[in-house]
């Protein structure tokens, strides 16, 4: 694995880089059905973290802990299920074969004459990063340091009208610590059974012994 050991250790990659392809956490308000992207303790036109939880700005409903954690869990499961749908893509740009069929030679493209290599479109690394991204949203330290991946960019029509001061972020994160821990435990339930985590540890070990 000569070329592998030249790659940076995964832990040294910044969250911005690591999560650039991760999907947002999209929530429903259980009271008014508004859909919005949850991006941690940040300014948003759709929700705010208040001292006792997540509040919908449209109808002022405050989510009970389970109203948030159940959506997080069903979204995680939808990601895992999509991963198991097993979509494959051909790496030959001129071919573009996207299929769920697997040749008995797994990497062979089923389009006649194509010499491209097939791979899973939703890779285990991508799924693992997706779970880590969700985990970062409920990570108090990262919230306080405002290190989370941005979900709104200047110029978007949804770009927040108001800002959130650094001290508000600190206070609101601390006040929601228990809520965040509940959601982190939900993510940990899946990370603990995730093959990728062990692949990573194996990789690091190889790196040190070789």
């Amino acid at each position: 694995h000569g070329s592998n050991s030249l790659q940076p250790l995964e832990t040294t990659i910044s969250d911005m880089e690591r999560f650039k392809d991760s999907s947002n956490l999209e929530l429903h308000c259980p009271n008014c059905s508004q859909q919005f992207v949850f991006g941690g303790v940040i300014a948003s036109n759709f929700y705010q973290m208040c001292y006792n939880g997540l509040q919908c700005k449209k109808c002022e409903h405050i989510f009970t802990p389970i109203q948030l954690s159940c959506q997080l869990e069903s979204i995680i499961r939808a990601h895992i299920s999509l991963y198991y749908a097993g979509w494959l893509v051909c790496d030959d740009m001129t071919c573009g074969n996207v299929t769920r069929q697997i040749s008995v030679f797994g990497k062979r493209c089923l389009n006649e004459g194509c010499t491209g290599v097939m791979r899973y479109r939703y890779s285990d690394k991508q799924l693992y990063n997706q779970l880590l991204y969700f985990e970062s949203l409920f990570d108090c330290a990262k919230n306080k340091k405002q290190e989370l991946k941005a979900v709104y960019y200047e110029g978007d029509k949804d770009y927040p009208k108001e800002k959130l001061s650094e001290s508000s972020v600190m206070v609101l994160t601390e006040q929601n610590r228990e809520l965040f821990e509940i959601n982190r435990a939900v993510i940990e339930k899946y990370l603990s059974n995730c093959g990728r985590r062990y692949v990573d540890m194996g990789g690091i070990f190889d790196f040190m012994t070789n």
Partner: protein
């Protein structure tokens, strides 16, 4: 062997997956060869042009990798194994076949020829041999008879969801437990998940109400199980053995692919009379072998039918026969997907398909979904969204107990099975005399299945 299910998930490997798919073809090649007493030279590579009539074993696949939706007899190919045809695929011409049922993923044995190099003209589709039935010795039969004290074995089977899609009303389940304890009094209750379904629309949209009767409100779905469902399950009379089989949509399992590891009994705080089995699993109760799988093959198998005779037959019977011939509980490949169409956020683009769930096959481990020991269980129970049924197919009892609760909240069904005590005197068991005297169980002759409204 349940320990084989303790693998880490979310780690698909394309090469491993393809090895398993290749192996399926090779296993059947050997099976067909032995069954039809063919020599190696009778088999040929169907992808190569030749005037000779040959036998070929392979997988039914669509003739295009991008094929979607319904297929027909003109759009099928045969995939060969690595050994027999270097994994190449060849279009099938089925003009000479009058009556057949095929499906994608099926391993078939064909007789025919590839005269022009373009397609394999099929002359005959050979019947795959049915697996043997399990047998018991005289000694074992007497042992089971004594342990049952001559009584019939009574089994009740339910399949989730246990809540409707629009409320978390658990009263049907508590009514059911009352009935089990006081009326039906079975020896065993087999309960399939999902107990708490991650694709329930209330859960997907966060519309979980507060529970006025609970002192402490659940904060997660796992707590919803322990506070809402567990207390009711615990009311089942401890003398009744309860077997739980998970669904890949169960919140209470962090292993969400098929084949699926069992629930963690201690982690879920289930009492001692509960046993947690894998999905699928095969187990023996007295003499009877039960095959249990919680992947909806009766809904997911889309047959390509040709001919009037086969079309006239009951669809569940045809699928049951396919399952027996393929010797695995979910022979369709690729497995099913479920998505919903949602309006796109961007006005220019069309609607988008949002993935919800699927059968979530763990392809590298499909070996665990094959019939254990290469014999057919006496009773096969596969819950399905299709209407509930109990049918005897090739002397195997197939049961779909139906959903416990229907999506809109109407009461569903469960199955009650009663199997007469095995008795060597009543001549209901078939005696086989080889080196050793053995008996076929003939459970299909000795059992009665009722589909009961909840």
């Amino acid at each position: 062997d349940p320990s084989k299910y303790k693998f880490r998930i979310m780690r698909q490997n394309l090469v491993e997956s393809s090895e398993v798919l290749n192996e399926q073809i090779e296993i059947f090649t050997k099976l067909v060869q032995a069954h039809l007493k063919l020599t190696d030279s009778d088999f040929g590579d169907p992808t190569i042009q030749s005037q000779n009539v040959i036998y070929a074993v392979g997988r039914i696949v669509p003739d295009s990798p991008s094929a979607e939706g319904f297929l027909n007899e003109q759009s099928l190919s045969l995939e060969t194994s690595r050994l027999n045809g270097i994994g190449r695929r060849i279009r099938l011409k089925l003009d000479n076949i009058s009556d057949t049922s095929l499906f994608v993923g099926q391993i078939v044995a064909l007789k025919g020829s590839n005269a022009n190099g373009e397609a394999f003209l099929v002359e005959d589709i050979l019947d795959m041999p049915y697996p043997d039935a399990p047998v018991s010795t005289e000694e074992d039969i007497n042992l089971y008879k004594n342990s049952l004290k001559g009584e019939s074995a009574k089994i009740v089977v339910t399949a989730g969801p246990y809540f409707p899609d629009n409320s978390l009303d658990i009263s049907y389940l508590s009514d059911f437990v009352e009935r089990v304890n006081n009326e039906s009094k079975p020896h065993i209750v087999i309960m399939y998940g999902p107990f708490i379904d991650v694709t329930n629309s209330m859960i997907m949209e966060g519309r979980i109400p507060t529970f006025p009767h609970l002192k402490v409100q659940p904060r997660t779905l796992d707590e919803l199980f322990t506070r809402l469902v567990l207390p009711i399950l615990k009311n089942i009379n401890p003398k009744i053995q309860v077997i739980l089989i998970p669904s890949t949509r169960d919140v209470s399992s962090n292993h969400s692919s098929y084949p699926q590891d069992s629930f963690d009994r201690k982690g879920l705080q289930l009492p001692k009379n509960f046993k947690c089995f894998t999905n699928p699993s095969t187990f023996q109760l007295n003499e009877t072998f039960f095959g249990c799988s919680n992947a909806d093959i009766f809904k997911d198998m889309k047959e390509i039918l040709k001919g009037g005779d086969i079309s006239m037959r009951n669809r569940f019977d045809r699928i049951a026969e396919h399952m027996l011939q393929q010797r695995r509980f979910y022979p369709v490949f690729p497995g099913s997907l479920r998505s919903i169409t949602v309006p796109a956020k961007n006005e220019n683009s069309k609607k988008i398909h949002k993935h919800i769930s699927g059968v979530d096959l763990e392809v590298s481990y499909l070996g665990l979904t094959e019939f254990v020991g290469n014999f057919a269980p006496d009773v096969i129970m596969v819950p399905s969204d299709m209407s509930p049924f109990a049918r005897v197919v090739k002397n195997v009892v197939f049961i779909n107990p139906g959903k416990f609760v229907k999506a809109r909240g109407a009461r569903g069904t469960h199955a009650q099975i009663s199997i007469c005590c095995p008795n060597l005197e009543d001549r209901k068991l078939t005696k086989l005399e080889n080196d050793e005297v053995l008996y076929l169980h003939n459970v299909w002759k000795r059992s009665r299945v009722d589909i009961v409204g909840n």
